[in-house]
């Protein structure tokens, strides 16, 4: 058989276009991992997703979408102690949750190699903060590797396992979203024999029992191991000095920002300066930095965020007695993503050189245009049950955009697809920070401000992540809050990983161990629990209203599956010839004669399938349901106060075929597998 799937079967000599996250996963595979886990989080999700998707064709590989990062890293530690090389991945903020196992990992050490791949998110396009997780290593001592491109993402990950074993640390592989979601050329390496991967836990009380004096001894041991690693890193292949000509200026950088730096220098035509590329950004060996400093009187550190390298290098410079000047954050911003533009501008400013004219023109033109362009924000998919949930909640608490009415209740937000409800036109969140902060903060507000009704929102995956103790806490301490669990059965935002609520996989196979959420909530001591379909908007809104009148903790489960998964499953099952789509088909339409453009569907519900059209004859605008986008959820039909939206049934097969265009404008229609299967 040919190599139909290079991710699984590729060997030395093969190359393909691979996503950064997939390159990390492939590196782990080449290193012979037997365990891979994560709690899904953008931008890191594909690291474990690609392994999970292919696991049936990979011998002795265990994959897990854990309920949270704390459990996931502990799982990786358990696998490592059983002699299994293990990969754990998470997004930047995930390390806050996993910081406890991460802290202990240096004390106890690993057995088989353990790599923690972290997808950081500078600029926070997919996160609720842009924290730089590298700072954790100053006190948990996890070594940090930072690949700069796709090839290094794979190679570094592979090597990280050897280093992890050699120095008994869990090694952090840091990948910002620009690397996670970069796709470029990857040259494959060989795979290790996987037949021997087998767990064998060997007792090691000296290292694994970490308390009292034993903890103090372990503390001393890891400081010692850290010194050994530093020594190793003076000559390692990971940190490279590129010598310059006679220039007394040197640049230090790492990761993707190093790639920005090298291309910026090329764009600016600057080639004569010394460069230090750091593959390991923790620990930094003084001797290596000292060697780089030789002959230099100015050093420029090019990095993202607050200056983790600058912090360490300035300390080393002080200890070495370096007399030159060290620059960093004077030229490169501390917040937001550091883009290639920022690096070009920073370097030009440092050399006091003018910017290339084409670049300068483009930057100025963009500034001039930006103010003229309407902002665009993401929103729920067409047919998403969250849209109906938000609409109902907002109606129940008296909110209206068109009538300019503010809502009466405090609404606590949380992390997931439904976070988009904080954007216009819903503006349905008063605060949003981390996972399960909604109920955590909301329950306390309900105790201290008795004048206001408090509603906290959470998704099923976020609830299972760490919401159960918060709910129990709210019950035990007598808070007065309505908790709405938006249960769409999937961790949808990160690419649809299963949750304990997932009833059926997309091929229709029923899940094992499905949890009864209502029973779970009841067992925590909540007496007011209702579970209903949010797409029945009127019923749902009136349920919210009645719940708000009750004292104590109330839970309403908005139970309806993610529309994307429902549509995908239907498509798969149809293909198998269930005949399901051949039955009568329906279409929703707005009757021009009845529509008074009250904006209930167009602005309040704001379904993107309802669009504005111009009547060619009269020149008047009218609202129109685009049949190519509508997924026939029927919510608009239910909410229309003028009964202007009607359902039209079609029984003619030909008519149906004309009408049934795209179910959902899915981006992934076209060759999904091309990326790997070349």
């Amino acid at each position: 058989m040919g190599k139909s799937n290079l991710f699984v079967n590729g060997t030395k000599g093969d190359k393909a276009i691979v996503l950064g996250n997939e390159a990390i996963a492939r590196g782990a595979l080449e290193a012979g991992i037997g365990y891979a886990s994560m709690y899904p989080g953008t931008p890191a999700s594909e690291i474990i997703a690609v392994l999970d998707k292919n696991k049936s064709s990979i011998e002795n590989l265990y994959t897990e979408f854990s309920l949270n990062e704390h459990i996931s890293l502990h799982g990786a530690i358990g696998a490592s102690w059983s002699g299994i090389r293990s990969l754990c991945a998470m997004k930047n903020v995930g390390l806050n949750v996993a910081s406890e196992p991460a802290q202990f990992l240096s004390y106890t050490g690993v057995k088989a190699g353990l790599v923690l791949a972290i997808g950081s998110d500078p600029g926070a396009p997919s996160s609720s903060n842009e924290q730089d997780d590298r700072w954790y290593s100053l006190h948990n001592y996890m070594p940090i590797m930072e690949p700069s491109n796709i090839q290094e993402a794979k190679d570094f990950t592979k090597d990280a396992f050897d280093i992890s074993e050699k120095f008994s640390f869990g090694v952090v592989l840091m990948a910002p979203s620009r690397l996670c979601h970069n796709a470029g050329t990857l040259y494959f390496g060989d795979l290790r024999d996987r037949s021997e991967i087998k767990g064998d836990f060997k007792k090691d009380p000296e290292n694994y029992l970490n308390l009292f004096g034993m903890a103090v001894r372990n503390h001393a041991k890891y400081l010692e191991r850290n010194e050994l690693l530093k020594k190793y890193l003076i000559e390692s292949k990971f940190n490279k000095i590129i010598n310059g000509s006679s220039s007394k200026i040197g640049f230090i950088s790492s990761g993707v920002v190093y790639a920005h730096l090298m291309e910026s220098l090329d764009i600016l035509g600057v080639y004569d300066h010394k460069i230090l590329k750091l593959g390991f950004t923790f620990p930094l060996p003084g001797e290596l930095i000292g060697r780089f400093f030789e002959g230099l009187d100015k050093v420029v550190i090019v990095e993202e965020a607050e200056g983790f390298l600058e912090f360490q290098i300035k300390k080393i410079a002080y200890e070495l007695g370096f007399k030159g000047a060290i620059y960093g954050k004077e030229f490169f911003k501390q917040t937001g993503e550091l883009t290639i533009d920022d690096v070009i501008v920073g370097i030009s400013n440092f050399f006091e050189k003018p910017l290339p004219s084409y670049f300068d023109f483009a930057v100025k033109k963009d500034k001039e245009l930006r103010d003229k362009l309407p902002q665009r924000s993401g929103t729920f998919c067409i047919g998403c049950p969250h849209r109906a949930t938000f609409y109902s909640i907002l109606k129940a608490v008296g909110f209206s955009n068109t009538e300019g009415k503010e809502r009466e209740a405090v609404i606590a937000g949380d992390i997931g697809c439904y976070t988009l409800g904080l954007l216009p036109p819903y503006n349905a969140m008063d605060f949003l920070t981390c996972m399960n902060a909604g109920l955590g903060i909301g329950q306390a507000i309900s105790i201290f401000d008795k004048q206001k009704k408090v509603i906290a929102l959470v998704g099923d995956s976020t609830f299972y992540h760490s919401g159960i103790p918060v709910l129990l806490n709210a019950v035990q301490n007598g808070s007065d809050i309505l908790y709405v669990i938006l249960d769409n059965s999937w961790t949808a935002m990160t690419g649809h990983q299963k949750t304990p609520s997932t009833q059926k996989d997309i091929d229709g196979k029923p899940s094992a161990n499905v949890l009864n959420l209502k029973d779970l909530v009841k067992s925590l001591g909540v007496s007011y629990v209702k579970s209903l379909d949010p797409n029945s908007v009127k019923r749902f809104a009136s349920q919210i209203k009645s719940a708000l009148k009750e004292p104590g903790v109330k839970v309403i489960i908005a139970k309806r599956e993610c529309i994307l998964q429902e549509a995908r499953r239907n498509k798969i099952l149809n293909k198998k010839g269930s005949g399901f789509a051949e039955a009568g088909e329906s279409l929703y339409e707005i009757q021009k004669s009845r529509c008074v453009k009250c904006n209930e569907c167009f602005v309040e519900l704001a379904c993107p399938a309802i669009i504005l059209k111009k009547d060619e004859e009269t020149g008047n605008d009218y609202y129109y349901i685009d049949p190519a986008s509508c997924v026939k959820c029927g919510v608009c039909c239910e909410i229309c106060p003028n009964s202007a939206i009607r359902k039209v049934e079609f029984d003619l097969k030909t008519e149906f075929k004309l009408r049934q265009r795209a179910e959902i404008k899915s981006a992934e229609e076209v060759p999904n597998e091309v990326r790997i299967n070349v």
Partner: protein, 205 residues
């Protein structure tokens, strides 16, 4: 070393990332060729702004390919650094205009997707004539079509508009990648027949 940078912009769900993937895969035939380029995905932001970059790199020789000062490429395109811009939404063409220069080729889709702020009456959607005139201040090589309509008409679905636009790019710009290389990629995977047909439709524009 020669480079050819393509920026692709549009909305979540329009097939932007797929276009980038197809184009990058077409760059695997030569050893002296490299490709880079990141995607801006941003969670599940349906209808939000999405962009992806395709950066083709052609080395003169092996020693250049091994030169650390030449062989590391940013995943991003700098302002004004794109040789071509494809946009699947008219307004977003202007958001992506930061990447183009006076020699760039611009291909954009005429079908607007109205942002929420316009729906709510807070802002207005620019006329196509405004979009074109603003682009003309940067480059004269501007081509726009109703890719949504072409896709609907030929496939009864909107999903092929990205591949049609890709064909249009190859029709209008001199891309240092062979058309056959793109077609070879489109032959693999789901829906290859429609993809090839869509690409050919674009080539004829």
């Amino acid at each position: 070393m020669k480079k050819f940078n393509i920026a692709i912009v549009g909305l979540g769900g329009q097939g932007i990332i797929t276009m980038g993937t197809v184009m990058k895969n077409a760059a695997l035939s030569s050893d002296l060729q490299d490709v880079s380029g990141s995607e801006r995905r941003g969670g599940a932001q349906r209808e939000g702004y999405v962009e992806t970059f395709v950066k083709y790199i052609f080395y003169e020789n092996e020693s250049e390919m091994k030169d650390p000062r030449k062989s590391m490429h940013s995943p991003m395109i700098e302002s004004g650094g794109a040789d071509a811009l494809i946009s699947l939404e008219p307004l977003e063409t202007l958001r992506g205009a930061c990447y183009i220069n006076k020699n760039s080729i611009v291909i954009f889709n005429k079908t607007p997707y109205i942002p929420i702020s316009v729906r709510m009456g807070q802002t207005s959607y620019p006329e196509i004539s405004f979009i074109v005139s603003e682009l003309m201040k940067i480059t004269e090589n501007i081509f726009y079509y109703d890719f949504d309509a072409i896709s609907l008409e030929n496939f009864n679905s909107l999903t092929q508009k990205n591949i049609i636009a890709l064909g249009a790019l190859f029709a209008k710009a001199v891309i240092p990648i062979e058309i056959a290389a793109i077609e070879n990629i489109l032959k693999i995977g789901k829906g290859s027949e429609n993809n090839l047909k869509a690409f050919k439709l674009g080539l004829k524009l």
